[in-house]
């Protein structure tokens, strides 16, 4: 691990217990300098505790934390070049926008002229010029978030932490803020670490991510890598996967599934387990190729236009009684119309079947 100390952020063997609840279990994490990194996990997985330990608001029971090659494990929050955008924003209700943003600079006895220049710059970057004298309760949710961001970034931290940055925003603001956040990070080059339980947020914002559960990191990698090949059922479901299929080995690369015999390119280590296929990887054709692996006859149960294509719900057509059969969701990009009740040919490309690990907790 010591050869990695020059990473942006490095957590080594961090553990934390509250009473008899193990919030973090011997957790390792490394974040590159200047990237947006997401820690994704359900509530109670320990992600917020990890964030608080990095911020210095909580001390780990064991483990060490390095930021740009310097150990910060025991530094108090006020002594770390790390700033946080809190989930609730935690703006000072009695201070106006200017004073909120200036707080960190004034706390470090920055000369007044410098404070005014820096606060002015960051507020104009955040398109908040003109609102300096507003109190937090006079701001909209989006404006509050921008003040919280400005208040943190004006200090030019080496690391910015964001706790569920989108959770308090209306749906229509989220996409806009996500774009702004990405642009801002690119411009400033600051390392961003954000925690969230929303896989869409993780997908849209981060270069790389770690999926956490029960105080550990279950999977770690580039956003694309983790989303295309979740390692187990927990990660797959957490990333929004619905098409998880039982499979058992027949011979070679061929597996028996409720949808017929499927060949899989990425051969699993097990004989009986689960595999995943993403809705946009399933192909819908006019007719199935008879008696070929990876093909089966499907029956369309429902379909909804989603703006770009069709969200299709289908099941295996077993001639009449299809009621108890497992269902699949498919994102069809075909402009051709598909009707409910229509019979179609369905194809699972072998390279897009993802085997899932059986054990839920493994590194």
């Amino acid at each position: 691990m010591t050869d990695q100390i020059d990473k942006g952020l490095l957590c080594c063997g961090v553990s934390k217990t509250f009473g008899n609840h193990e919030a973090l279990r011997d957790l390792d994490l490394s974040v590159e300098k200047g990237e947006i990194f997401t820690i994704l996990g359900p509530s109670g997985c320990g992600k917020t505790t990890l964030l608080r330990i990095i911020a210095g608001l909580e001390l780990p029971d064991s483990g060490r934390i390095f930021l740009n090659s310097k150990e910060i494990t025991r530094l108090p929050a006020s002594g770390r070049p790390v700033n946080t955008v809190f989930q609730s924003y935690a703006l000072f209700p009695h201070l106006d926008v200017f004073s909120n943003v200036a707080f960190g600079l004034l706390a470090r006895k920055t000369p007044k002229s410098v404070v005014e220049a820096k606060v002015g710059d960051i507020l104009s970057l955040m398109r908040m010029t003109g609102l300096e004298r507003r109190l937090p309760h006079q701001l909209s949710g989006g404006q509050k978030q921008r003040v919280a961001l400005a208040r943190a970034l004006v200090n030019e931290p080496e690391l910015l932490l964001l706790d569920e940055p989108m959770s308090a925003l209306d749906a229509h603001l989220r996409t806009q803020v996500q774009d702004e956040l990405r642009a801002l990070q690119k411009k400033l080059g600051t390392t961003f670490v954000l925690v969230t339980h929303d896989h869409n947020e993780a997908k849209m914002l981060s270069n790389r991510l770690a999926v956490m559960d029960e105080g550990r990191i279950i999977q770690f990698g580039s956003t694309q890598q983790v989303f295309s090949k979740p390692r187990n059922k927990f990660v797959a479901e957490f990333l929004g996967a619905t098409n998880i299929i039982d499979a058992s080995l027949l011979s070679g690369n061929a597996y028996e599934t409720p949808f017929g015999t499927m060949d899989i390119s990425d051969k699993p280590s097990w004989d009986k387990g689960k595999m995943l296929i993403w809705p946009d990887r399933i192909q819908i054709h006019e007719e199935a190729k008879a008696d070929q692996h990876n093909w089966f006859n499907g029956l369309v149960l429902d379909q909804v236009f989603n703006g770009q294509g069709l969200d299709v719900m289908l099941t295996k057509d077993s001639g009449g009684v299809s009621l108890g059969n497992p269902t699949l969701s498919v994102k069809a990009r075909t402009p051709k119309s598909i009707q409910s009740g229509q019979k179609v040919g369905v194809y699972f490309p072998p390279e897009h079947l993802v085997p899932l690990d059986r054990n839920s907790l493994s590194h």
């Binding site: 608001l57 929050a77 209700p93 200090n155």
Partner: protein
């Protein structure tokens, strides 16, 4: 939709009447132009004017005000420090529950028990130092002991309502302890501190039992003066004095109520 329920309305009005009629009667007799009797003989402010000519009353009023101001100042500082200390220091949860109980207890313990305890304590302490001879000092100490609880309770609830978010934000934003207190904690709890102070001030001003047991011959307060005068019979001057005190103690309560409603 509110139902028409005459009985409920009557009981409500009757209860309010029960609460305020005695005070209203005192206020009425304080402006009645008759020394004796219950008959209305016209409006006058002469009883109020006479109050200010009575040296004993003026002295008692000064004693009461000095006592209330000083004890409130001391109790507000100590009570606020106690409330902050209880929240900030990492006390074990079990100990914190004990502390909570200890803060609430003085509010419900009968005054007479506090008063007797204080009298006994001062009787022992004055053997060690003449400072503890019954007088203004023992009155102030006595009042502070019961005021602290009230201040702490008000400030504590204010702190709890604020939550930890802003504290953590201040720490995250490089604030030293002093900067944090001066620019975040104090301004945010100030309405609570002032409300607690107003409450403590009122409690001191109209306290009788504890004052009675801890005062000396040179430190008669207004309630004690009123009590002593009543033994000689009711007089319109006492009505006037009581009415003044009523007004004086109501104002801080109204201010306190306004303050706690802010934010």
């Amino acid at each position: 939709m509110k139902e028409k329920r005459p009985m409920v309305a009557i009981v409500a009005v009757a209860s309010l009447a029960l609460m305020y009629l005695p005070s209203a009667a005192v206020a009425l007799f304080s402006v009645n132009n008759a020394r004796y009797g219950l008959a209305w003989r016209g409006f006058t402010l002469q009883w109020y004017a006479r109050l200010f000519g009575n040296r004993d009353i003026i002295e008692a009023a000064i004693n009461s005000l000095v006592l209330a101001v000083v004890s409130t100042l001391v109790a507000t500082i100590l009570g606020t420090a106690l409330a902050i200390g209880l929240r900030r220091a990492p006390w074990p949860a079990a100990l914190l529950r004990v502390f909570d109980l200890l803060i609430n207890l003085p509010v419900v313990v009968p005054d007479i028990i506090m008063a007797v305890a204080l009298a006994m304590a001062f009787n022992v302490l004055r053997l060690l130092s003449s400072v503890f001879e019954m007088g203004l000092f023992t009155l102030i100490v006595g009042h502070v002991t019961f005021q602290i609880s009230f201040v702490t309770l008000v400030v504590k609830s204010r702190l709890e309502a604020l939550g930890q978010d802003t504290d953590e934000a201040a720490m995250d934003l490089y604030a030293s302890r002093l900067f944090h207190f001066r620019h975040v904690t104090l301004p945010l709890i100030l309405p609570g501190v002032l409300a607690g102070a107003m409450l403590a001030f009122t409690l001191s001003l109209d306290d009788f039992i504890i004052s009675f047991f801890t005062h000396g011959p040179e430190s008669v307060t207004l309630p004690i003066y009123i009590y002593a005068s009543i033994k000689r019979g009711l007089s319109p001057e006492i009505h006037a004095l009581s009415t003044l005190m009523l007004v004086l103690t109501t104002i801080p309560i109204i201010i306190a109520e306004r303050l706690t409603r802010r934010f």
